[in-house]
């Protein structure tokens, strides 16, 4: 979220406070849970999450693996970046794909975005968490992202089957988290709950954190769908008869599956440009996410099913 007032704050002190809070949450979970795992979605929030995890346990190693749910429709640049980051940071990388979904030919085009997301993301995530026997999973979600997220806990309880029940969430007093789990319960843990989108970018700049180049503008082949710019990342994208992708200077504010992630026209080629642009563009970042746009509470309903 970029807002005019946000620029007037003392950013370093705020970033220090947010960093300390995130590290506190990482350590608490790593100390309390038997088998935690860090969800890694390759986006900027995941880059920050990984950076924070490294800082939290330095000079020791990050004491948990990171898990990527690969829908097979991610941007190709994301996959290259993912593998390189895992190598460079010395963190174990686990990749899981819902093979049943692949075998059934589930794609965003054949099954609709809702069903595709459910099968290739939500179900895949549940499978991976069950197979690994993880009792806690870190995620990079922030309260400023979306309406139902504003009420999310830092330690968010999931009932058996990974269901999120808003009414059963535990009260969070002080810094003391109740990390006790009954049979079948697991926890999602959000160290960056109180960060804003601008905090994320400022922190990336301050800490010199590497992000996928897709966040920066460059000529990319795009088509227009329902007023949104979609990048054609490979030849699986169904073009209309005679349609040719146009090359335009675009970048992405969030990264997901390429057919479902709208680009924005932009000339921001580096971090400075990007921060300057954000201070002018005052739309929230999820306005570019096609999967959120299905009725007011669609994030809430996806979460109840176990989506992150």
């Amino acid at each position: 979220m970029s807002t005019a007032a946000e620029t007037a704050i003392a950013p370093d002190a705020v970033l220090d406070a947010l960093e300390a809070e995130a590290i506190h949450v990482f350590r608490e979970a790593a100390g309390a849970f038997r088998r935690p795992v860090m969800l890694y979605s390759i986006g900027k929030d995941s880059s920050v999450l990984l950076h924070l995890a490294v800082k939290a346990f330095a000079p020791g190693k990050v004491p948990f693996p990171m898990l990527h749910i690969d829908t097979t429709w991610k941007f190709r640049e994301m996959i290259e970046f993912r593998d390189r980051m895992a190598r460079e940071k010395g963190v174990e990388l686990l990749v899981h794909t819902n093979q049943e979904g692949v075998a059934e030919g589930v794609t965003p085009f054949t099954h609709g975005t809702h069903e595709y997301t459910r099968i290739m993301k939500t179900v895949a995530l549940r499978e991976a968490l069950d197979e690994g026997g993880y009792d806690a999973a870190f995620g990079g979600a922030r309260r400023d992202e979306e309406r139902s997220r504003a009420k999310e806990r830092v330690f968010s309880l999931r009932e058996p089957g990974h269901r999120w029940e808003p009414r059963k969430q535990r009260p969070e007093f002080w810094r003391t988290a109740n990390t006790q789990l009954a049979d079948g319960q697991t926890m999602r843990v959000f160290p960056m709950s109180n960060w804003t989108e601008l905090d994320v970018w400022r922190y990336i700049q301050r800490e010199n954190i590497e992000v996928v180049p897709l966040y920066f503008s460059q000529e990319r082949p795009v088509v227009e769908r329902d007023g949104q710019l979609i990048m054609v990342d490979d030849d699986r994208y169904p073009l209309e008869d005679g349609e040719q992708p146009k090359h335009r200077s675009v970048r992405f504010r969030t990264l997901g599956c390429y057919p479902l992630t709208a680009a924005v026209a932009s000339r921001a080629e580096n971090l400075d440009d990007l921060l300057a642009e954000m201070l002018v563009d005052r739309r929230s970042e999820r306005s570019g996410r096609l999967i959120d746009g299905e009725g007011g509470g669609s994030m809430e309903s996806k979460k109840t099913e176990g989506y992150f």
């Binding site: 946000e6 705020v14 009260p171 007093f173 109740n178 006790q180």
Partner: protein, 645 residues
């Protein structure tokens, strides 16, 4: 009215000038946490929405949403911003038209500070959610509807905020537009609120006449209320100043250890400093117990630093090899500190509880107490009173239900170092967790520790057998194994104890031979001495049972009269007489201690079964076969103890 206030309230003209002290305060407290209390009817959503929108803290697409979306009942025409829609929440809340859960919003203050507003529900059944929001808050914004006046919920909000340690309260008397912006209407309410607030230990109370709907006194001074000379809501938020690390009343150094970081030749203790500062060379004490040790290094993000203050996530290493682990607390040594600034470990505390559980408090039930990284079994041993949140008075109460606030006494299994909550929220606050559902059933605020010597007198033991037993999660009992020498009593007792111990139960075996080498070494084997032997063992078993143990007595105890006397010391059902019945040929064959051989040789004249008779129980509670498999006997005994195995 001419205002001489130095604080700048316009955000567009660049950063205001700050004094050095303000700069330091801003660097140490860049984020201020605010709890907003009041219900939808009071106009809370509108007030927060307007604060967010008019400080430009909201993205444009969310503003568009608030222009184009309406809840039923809204009177604001489409196209205009309905500020209440900016804090729109869960679908479940839409259905009921209320706020269930705490939502968190960012507000950017002209002072350069960021405010995180916890938007707390107002209804009585959500007192616990309000307590959550207040638990970390520096400031409370409390709404009072001018058309309805001071209501019970106003008192409740004040009570909860004061209890949870909020020291600055901004009371927004809202809907002044609906009472014609009249001074007299405001003063009447303001007087009422001030006197209600005077009951609590609050540092600052601002009472502001507001119309969230028309925007009067929210951001800018109202032109409708020339009689009011105080700050607007935003000004009051902006002028808040925290205590800094130089404040002499501040909490001394506290570091709850969350995690032990290990690397090659490195062992450091990771946690967030929640009080004071820490530097290399500082003396610290582990769990406020014993001597001090010296901090060797302080690391932040893997890099050495000279100093870290409260709020910083650090790793510290200690000069001496100390066995520090998750759940331990590093504190400043007691020298030069007030007594309540040094958390000597205790096993009993007086505390306030905000009950959050669906099930009511069970007196004597064992809960888990969580504080820092610590988890210890704890029992509520006494309920001293229940707070009437409207009158603020303490009433008698036998239990606590959801949303109740009570004053209780708590006993923990092991001594824990807790501060009074008034000294530190982080090390004076704790959670109680139900052991089966693992739900958080209460938030606890330590009043003070209870010293046993002061608290326990012979006529009023606070902790009784039941409390101890509940803490151990077991029913204490005495299993009295009687039988001739060599019947297999000790073997069975040993196997049973190993089994119970493995199940996490607390046990003790009182063995005949064992007691004769110590407690009863003055006794021989005459009938008189045997009677005294049995009596002493029975009394000892009784003390142990009172301490909460499952006591297994393995004693020949040949005479019925002695056993009957022993049983008479106990309540019905607490003493189980178990006959280990083993055929004499098996016993003589076994003769593990060579006693039968000696007896036949005539050197043990009073040997039971040889020189003296053994009187088998007439009505034993249980008979086990000493000649069969030991496991079978053990299982029989486990069934009798009603423990699942």
């Amino acid at each position: 009215m001419t205002t001489t206030t130095t604080s700048t309230t316009t955000s567009t003209t660049g950063a205001p000038k700050r004094t050095d002290a303000e700069e330091k305060a801003l660097a140490e407290h860049p984020i201020v946490r605010v709890v907003a209390c009041g219900s939808v009817d009071d106009g809370k959503s509108t007030l927060i929405g307007r604060l967010l929108a008019e400080t430009e803290s909201v993205p444009d697409d969310i503003l568009d949403y608030a222009r184009n979306t309406r809840r039923s009942g809204s009177t604001i025409p489409k196209g205009e911003v309905d500020f209440s829609m900016l804090t729109d929440g869960l679908e479940a809340e839409h259905e009921q038209g209320i706020t269930i859960d705490v939502a968190y919003r960012h507000l950017y203050l002209p002072s350069g500070r960021r405010a995180i507003i916890a938007d707390a529900p107002g209804h009585e059944q959500y007192t616990r959610n309000m307590a959550v929001a207040a638990s970390t808050a520096d400031i409370a914004i409390l709404l009072v509807d001018a058309t309805r006046g001071i209501r019970p919920q106003t008192h409740r909000h004040l009570t909860v905020c004061a209890l949870m340690g909020v020291r600055t309260v901004i009371v927004a008397i809202n809907k002044l537009d609906a009472v014609g912006f009249k001074h007299v209407a405001f003063e009447e309410l303001a007087g009422g609120v001030r006197s209600a607030a005077a009951r609590f230990d609050l540092e600052e109370v601002d009472v502001i006449p507001v119309s969230a709907l028309t925007g009067d006194n929210v951001i800018d001074r109202s032109t409708q209320m020339p009689w009011y000379h105080g700050p607007t809501v935003l000004e009051a938020l902006t002028s808040w100043q925290p205590a800094t690390s130089e404040d002499t009343n501040a909490v001394p150094f506290r570091l709850p250890v969350q995690y032990v970081v290990r690397a090659d030749d490195f062992r450091g203790y990771a946690g967030t400093v929640v009080g004071g500062t820490v530097r290399p060379g500082d003396k610290v004490v582990v769990n406020a117990k014993g001597g001090s040790t010296i901090v060797e290094r302080v690391l932040v993000g893997g890099e050495d630093v000279d100093e870290a203050h409260a709020g910083t996530a650090v790793v510290v290493t200690l000069e001496t090899e100390t066995d520090v682990t998750r759940g331990d607390l590093l504190v400043a040594p007691p020298e030069g500190l007030a007594a309540d600034h040094y958390p000597r470990p205790a096993t009993a505390f007086a505390a306030d509880l905000v009950w959050t559980g669906e099930e009511e408090l069970r007196h004597g039930r064992s809960y888990l107490l969580l504080a820092g990284g610590l988890a210890v079994p704890a029992v509520v041993t006494a309920i001293r009173g229940r707070r009437d949140v409207v009158s603020g008075e303490e009433m008698a109460g036998r239990t606590l239900k959801m949303n109740d606030i009570g004053h209780v006494e708590i006993a923990t299994d092991t001594a824990v170092p807790l501060d009074p909550y008034a000294v530190s929220r982080d090390t004076g606050g704790f959670l109680l967790v139900e052991r089966v559902s693992r739900d958080t059933v209460a938030a606890g605020l330590v009043r003070h520790s209870l010293r046993r010597a002061h608290n326990v007198t012979p006529h009023a033991f606070t902790v009784d057998q039941e409390a101890r037993a509940v803490l151990k999660g077991q029913r204490p009992r005495v299993l009295w194994l009687t039988g001739v020498p060599g019947a297999g009593k000790s073997t069975i007792a040993d196997a049973l104890e190993r089994k119970l111990h493995g199940m996490g139960l607390h046990t003790y075996v009182l063995d005949g031979d064992g007691v004769r080498t110590g407690l009863n070494k003055d006794l021989g084997f005459t009938p008189e001495d045997r009677a005294e032997n049995v009596r002493r063992v029975a009394e000892t078993a009784k003390l142990m049972m009172d301490a909460g143990l499952i006591v297994i007595v393995s004693l020949v105890s040949p005479f019925r009269g002695d056993r009957r006397a022993a049983k008479g010391l106990f309540q019905e059902g607490d003493f189980l007489e178990v006959w280990v019945d083993t055929p004499s040929d098996v016993v003589v064959e076994r003769d593990p201690k060579g006693l039968y051989a000696k007896a036949r040789a005539g050197s043990l004249p009073n040997m039971t079964g040889v020189g003296q008779g053994y009187e088998p129980p007439e009505k034993p509670d249980l008979v086990v076969q000493g000649s069969g498999e030991v496991d079978d006997a053990v299982n029989q005994l486990l069934d009798a103890l009603e423990v699942t195995h």
